[in-house]
């Protein structure tokens, strides 16, 4: 398994875990309508920023560990196959992101509170990244 493939697998797990936690813990209290819109926005804003910090910190640690486990691969640059696999993942992830963008647009047109747009767009970014990660995982294993 190349450095790029390990990196993708690690980012997939980290993204699923961190944003899984975010959406599961927000589902009842925030999206369930238990809080007024201003409080819901404030609550998700803080948690959203926290998830970014967690993702950055955990991914740095994960990449250091991957590099330590296979030092010879650590400086390996992405080659043409890696770039092709990346582009195919971007294409599939971008399609999912576009669907969520349309959903967010629909919510805005219906006059829903801002925290719902923000979280719909975040869900789109996360879903897009997860689809991209799974696409890359499959392409690396099965071939392109």
């Amino acid at each position: 398994m190349s450095f790029q493939e390990k990196s993708n697998a690690a980012m997939l797990v980290i993204t699923a875990a961190v944003y899984g936690w975010y959406f599961v813990t927000s589902a009842g209290s925030v999206f369930g309508g238990g809080l007024p819109p201003e409080a819901a926005l404030a609550a998700t804003n803080v948690k959203m920023l926290l998830t970014v910090l967690i993702i950055v910190a955990v991914s740095i640690v994960a990449h250091i560990l991957i590099a330590i486990m296979a030092p010879s691969q650590a400086n390996e640059a992405a080659d043409e196959r890696d770039k092709l696999i990346e582009m195919r993942g971007d294409q599939r992830g971008g399609f999912v992101l576009a669907l969520f963008a349309l959903l967010a647009m629909g919510l805005a047109m219906l006059g829903k509170p801002p925290y719902l747009f923000a979280n719909t767009i975040l869900a789109g970014l996360v879903a897009g990244e997860l689809v991209k990660g799974v696409s890359k995982l499959i392409d690396y294993r099965r071939g392109v």
Partner: protein, 74 residues
Amino acid sequence: MAKPTPITNRIRALRFDAGEMTQAELAEKIGVTRQTVIAIEQGRYSPSLEVAFKMARVFGVGLEEVFQYPQSAG
């Protein structure tokens, strides 16, 4: 499953003839990762023309001695 490429290759035999060159050595010479050489050898990835020419040059043979495209493939 990704559609298998009709392109076949003789990379493994050519590596053997070239003093049992390893996949890692070939990868380094043509500027790709070892995993990409493995994928090309197994027919899971068709390389760019540039990589294909580099590979042929490493073995000192023509392109069609490395890669073959069957007549029936259209």
